[in-house]
């Protein structure tokens, strides 16, 4: 309802008239007799006063939103208030975002403050504040703040608080618990109605803590926080992570690093995630945001662009290494006596490995292709898990290779392949058991992988079947025995993991 109508006034009523009308009506609607009526009346009164002020005086801002009488002196440090004017909205209760931190510098063209406030140099103030924080003496800090002559002027103090927060956000500083509490008390940061988002305050603190942990001498502490203890291994990973994510991303340097197997990627991501606390924007200074994103994504379960890049690099490397290996195995035996025999053996083995690797790569890429078609690439879902599931088919693939080799090339070589298959299955079974049974999609992708392997190897398989039928089984016996063992172990392992059982 229109506040002026409720007060029985015309829209151009002045403050005195509004107050008079309010007083008259208040005598009929006393707060203790008619709470609802009073609340309506009071709200109308406030609204009318606000509108009347907005109508008459030019700016609709309250005293606290007046341009801040801060004397901005351009200093050499980078911590000056923003030059883009944005209104400082102090009275609002809603959570604010970063942009609220901007402070309007004093424009001499606007209104001159009524009483001349003490000169206040924000850059010097913030520099001195950092010094006090470095000393880590909350009592001295509090005393210094309390005695600061400029802060008797309330708008200056208000603005200085906002400015300080902004400076600490942009150039993080490690502040101890006590010093932060003293500062927060003095500037009233810890007030639900101050218009400062508590989450933002926390970010300011965390950014400060990360900046401190990044310093050379504090890597041990960082390792202790991440790994629970300060171990040389932990410190090593911290160093590696900081080294890897410093500077912009360069493919010729970073992709070879990503090829290394083992824990490297996961550990780097872990350290980086701890440093930025789940928010890349809060990454401390020398670390590059995009670079860190690459490492974190490369270790995350989702199939992001970084991961795809790593997969491509690995596939290319595998395919390049294969022929290289062939070439080497082809040249070495030339210098050894009894060459022809050994040459045949080595070349066959290298070919076998190459074929297996190529088969597995084909599996993986076909699976990635399926995932791509399903537009699931960016979803950090169970894609990667499904991918690992596809590797289930590596044991059958190796088994088939072993049988082929045993029949076509050499029985001993066949046994070797079968043993490799057994070893892989054994290692996989030793790995950490899955926390939850496989989903329908995972089982499906495992079956797809199997089918793909079967299709790829169906031609050679039929040939094998024929040759096995033609010659006796005697020569193949050891290979077949190990293959049966490997496949049995494989099936038992997956059964144990509940992978072949449907999810309950």
């Amino acid at each position: 309802m229109d506040p002026f109508a409720l007060l029985g006034l015309a829209h151009d009523a002045d403050e005195a008239a509004i107050k008079r009308a309010y007083a008259q009506r208040l005598r009929k609607t006393r707060p203790d007799d008619d709470p609802e009526g009073f609340q309506r009346l009071n709200e109308a009164y406030r609204a009318a006063l606000a509108r009347s002020k907005a109508g008459h005086a030019a700016p609709a801002r309250g005293a606290w939103n007046r341009p801040v009488p801060v004397l901005v002196t351009a200093g050499p440090t980078g911590s000056q208030p923003a030059s883009t004017p944005a209104p400082v909205d102090a009275g609002a209760s809603r959570p604010v975002h970063e942009s609220r931190l901007r402070v309007v510098p004093l424009d001499p063209q606007l209104d001159a403050p009524r009483s001349q406030p003490p000169t206040f140099d924000p850059a010097a103030f913030i520099a001195e504040f950092r010094e006090y924080c470095a000393q880590d003496n909350p009592y001295a800090l509090s005393r210094w703040l309390n005695r600061h002559p400029a802060f008797w002027n309330l708008p200056t103090k208000h603005a200085a608080g906002r400015m300080l927060l902004r400076a600490l956000f942009e150039k993080p500083e490690h502040i101890s618990e006590g010093c932060f509490a003293a500062t927060s008390d003095f500037f009233h940061f810890d007030d639900a109605l101050a218009g400062i988002d508590p989450l933002l305050l926390r970010r300011v603190r965390e950014r400060g803590a990360s900046a401190w942990l990044m310093r050379e001498g504090n890597h041990g502490e960082l390792a202790r926080r991440i790994y629970g203890a300060k171990t040389p291994r932990g410190v090593h990973w911290v160093r590696v992570a900081i080294k890897r994510a410093t500077g912009p991303f360069r493919w010729w340097r970073d992709l070879p690093n990503a090829l290394r197997p083992g824990k490297s990627r996961r550990q780097v991501a872990r350290v980086l995630l701890y440093l930025c606390d789940g928010n890349l924007a809060d990454l401390p200074a020398p670390l590059d945001k995009e670079h860190a994103r690459f490492w974190i994504e490369a270790a995350s379960p989702g199939l992001g662009r970084s991961k795809l890049l790593v997969y491509i690099a690995r596939s290319v490397a595998a395919l390049v290494l294969g022929p290289l290996l062939l070439a080497i195995t082809g040249t070495i035996p030339a210098y050894i006596a009894d060459a022809p025999n050994l040459l045949g053996f080595a070349t066959s083995f290298a070919w076998g490995v190459f074929v297996t690797v190529a088969a597995v790569l084909a599996c993986i890429w076909s699976w990635i292709g399926v995932a791509w078609l399903n537009r699931k690439l960016d979803a950090a879902s169970d894609i990667s898990r499904g991918l690992r599931v596809t590797l289930v088919s590596i044991t059958p693939a190796l088994c088939v290779t072993a049988l082929l080799t045993a029949r076509l090339v050499d029985p001993i070589l066949g046994v070797l392949f079968a043993l490799v298959a057994l070893l892989i299955t054994f290692l996989r079974s030793r790995a950490r058991p899955r926390r939850q049974p496989a989903t329908a999609r995972e089982r499906l992708s495992a079956y797809i992988g199997l089918v793909l392997v079967c299709v790829m190897l169906s031609g050679p398989m039929s040939a094998v079947a024929k040759t096995i039928a033609a010659t006796g089984l005697a020569k193949l016996a050891p290979t077949v025995a190990v293959v049966v063992l490997a496949l049995g172990f494989w099936a038992w392992d997956w059964h144990k993991r509940g992978f072949l059982k449907p999810r309950v």
Binding site: A16, K19, R20, Y22, A23, Q24, L26, R27, R30, P31, D32, P35, E36, F38, Q39, N42, G62, A63, W64, A90, G91, S93, P95, H97, R114, S115, S142, R143, N146, W152, L154, P155, K157, H158, D185, H188, D190, D191, A192, L193, I196, D197, P198, L199, L201, R202, R203, D277, G278, N279, A281, D282
Partner: protein, 564 residues
């Protein structure tokens, strides 16, 4: 008859509105102030007021003071052979006040308006009401102390269209209120305060400095010695309001300790306390959306505001000298008496209407998603009624569950100003069963907070889709007495013996004599002899003789005390 009572940390007063102006009642000792001290006699009889204050030094284990600071907590204070709750001790003070007022008017008093610090919490207000009930009074209204002081000032000076700030530094609490007066309306804009900052803390600072300078361990002092020392330092603190320097001579274990403190050192020592006053002042100004220059007056109220340090702070902050139009000790009681008159709809006050504010924010705990990292942060406080809104007020807000699968919603009600609930005071909680819905919007819950003029909060939660309404009963925390407990305690209190009012003067004189005896080494035998003689005179029940001897005795005591 309805009276107005200022139930203070150190002193309490009572008054009423007599048709044209507020009037305070004197105690039987002729003073307006009744010290808020309770003591138990050797035979279990209750002594309240000046006599009890004297006994604070001679019988510290049977005497208690400053219990207002514990109001609203579950603390029990051992006194004699039983434990007292702060409410009960306050009730005993209230009874003593009411007895004085009944003696002065000859009327039965059954209703009262009691003043509380503006920044008193819900539990502390409830405790004050309970204290009234225990004293056999119906507490018609609780009035905020700075508001009461402003009423007293406003009715005397009748300033039109002015905004002013009341700075109330009492014995144990500090309050700030910004008010506006126009057309007979007294409108409170904002209140803020600190419930644990008052004259006692300044005394504590002096005590700490004294003990440190004299290399005395506080634990080495007996309670009697501690009480004596505090009394001496209190006198020194009062001296410092006029003189630049104050001397203290304290006899401890046969040693005569001399100590002096000057104004500058005291200012330096109490600087942290003075700085703590800035925060409530700034908050009140910001909430009222006013600049220091928008205020027409600064009014100092409360005994401790006599300290020059306070005036210095005010002049520094507001660029002007503060006013002391009304006696800082009486202002609150006069205001309470005026409010009592308003409550009784006194014709002279018919035109005056008071609108007050809710001094603290009330809200619930929510979980928020951090937009930066995408994680959920629990324990965020969302105010529904923001502080310094005019009461009565009713506000509502809509809240959603975190996920669609959520079947229950926990509604935790908090009071306080910190953006995280862990630093605020929990008032109660309620668990709602949510209906199944496709989206969280369908499962919205509307929470309504209603805060009335008496400071009672009502919380109502409505599930938007079904219209099902739940009402939250605010938790019975251990600091609040239930009705049943109040009845039980009332019966126990009624069993206590209280010295009749006409004997108060004799008791006070005896208590003072005993205190002087304990403090002074000179003339001890003479005082002991006079005490024995006065006791036997009291036994004789000859009023004439008792009165003349008492006057004489007081005169001697005055002389003894006047000697350095």
């Amino acid at each position: 008859m309805i009276v107005g009572i200022d139930l203070g940390t150190t002193n309490s007063l009572i008054g009423r509105f007599d048709g044209s102006e507020p009037q305070l009642f004197k105690t039987s000792l002729g003073s307006y102030l009744t010290p808020s001290v309770v003591s138990l006699d050797d035979d279990g009889t209750v002594i309240v007021g000046q006599a009890a204050r004297e006994r604070l030094i001679t019988h510290p284990e049977r005497t208690v003071a400053s219990f207002k600071r514990w109001m609203g907590s579950a603390r029990e204070i051992p006194l004699g052979n039983r434990n007292f709750r702060p409410e009960e001790l306050s009730a005993l003070v209230l009874r003593a006040l009411v007895m004085d007022a009944e003696a002065a008017t000859g009327e039965k008093i059954d209703e009262a308006v009691v003043s509380v610090p503006a920044y008193f919490s819900d539990a502390q207000r409830k405790a004050t009401r309970a204290a009234g009930e225990l004293a056999g009074l119906r507490v018609e209204k609780l009035i905020n102390e700075p508001t009461a002081a402003a009423l007293a000032y406003g009715l005397r000076e009748r300033p039109e269209n002015s905004r002013f700030l009341v700075f109330d530094l009492g014995g144990g609490t500090f309050d700030v209120s910004i008010l506006e007066m126009f057309e007979g309306i007294v409108q409170v804009h904002a209140s803020a305060g600190d419930n644990f900052l008052g004259g006692e803390d300044f005394l504590g600072v002096l005590e700490g400095a004294f003990l440190a300078d004299q290399h005395i361990d506080a634990k080495a002092l007996s309670r009697e010695q501690r009480g004596q020392l505090r009394r001496l330092l209190e006198a020194a603190k009062r001296n410092l309001t006029q003189a630049r320097k104050a001397d203290v001579r304290f006899t401890c274990d046969g040693r005569d300790l001399e100590w002096s403190i000057d104004e500058d050192r005291f200012a330096d020592l109490s600087d942290p306390l003075i700085q703590r006053m800035r925060a409530p002042l700034e908050r009140a100004l910001r909430d009222a959306n006013l600049q220091p220059s928008d205020l027409s007056e600064i009014i100092l109220v409360g005994g401790a505001s006599r300290m020059p340090l306070v005036a210095r702070l005010v002049s520094r902050m507001f660029g002007r000298l503060p006013l002391r139009h009304v006696d800082p000790d009486h202002a609150v009681a006069l205001g309470a008496a005026i409010t009592a008159g308003m409550k009784a709809r006194d014709a002279a006050l018919e035109e005056t209407i008071l609108t007050d504010v809710c001094p603290y924010s009330l809200g619930i705990e929510v979980s928020r998603k951090d937009p930066a990292s995408g994680r959920r942060v629990d324990g965020v406080f969302t105010p529904i009624i923001q502080r310094n809104n005019t009461v009565p007020i009713s506000r509502e807000d809509t809240f959603f569950p975190i996920t669609e699968q959520q079947r229950q919603l926990e509604l935790k009600v908090f009071q306080g100003e910190s953006p995280m609930v862990e630093h605020n005071i929990k008032l109660g909680e309620l668990t709602l069963d949510l209906p199944r819905g496709k989206s969280i919007e369908e499962q919205a819950v509307v929470v309504r907070f209603t805060y009335d003029v008496n400071g009672v909060l009502q919380v109502e939660a409505t599930i938007k889709r079904t219209g099902e309404t739940h009402e939250l009963l605010l938790q019975q925390n251990p600091g609040i007495l239930s009705d049943k407990e109040i009845r039980e305690r009332l019966a126990k209190l009624a069993a206590l013996k209280i010295h009749p009012r006409d004997r108060q003067e004799n008791i006070a004189t005896l208590a003072r004599a005993e205190r002087v005896y304990a403090e002074r080494l000179a003339l001890r035998d003479d005082i002991a002899e006079m005490i024995t003689r006065f006791r036997s005179t009291i036994e004789s029940q000859d009023d004439q003789r008792i009165r003349s001897e008492r006057t004489e005795f007081e005169h001697v005591l005055d002389q003894v005390e006047a000697e350095p």
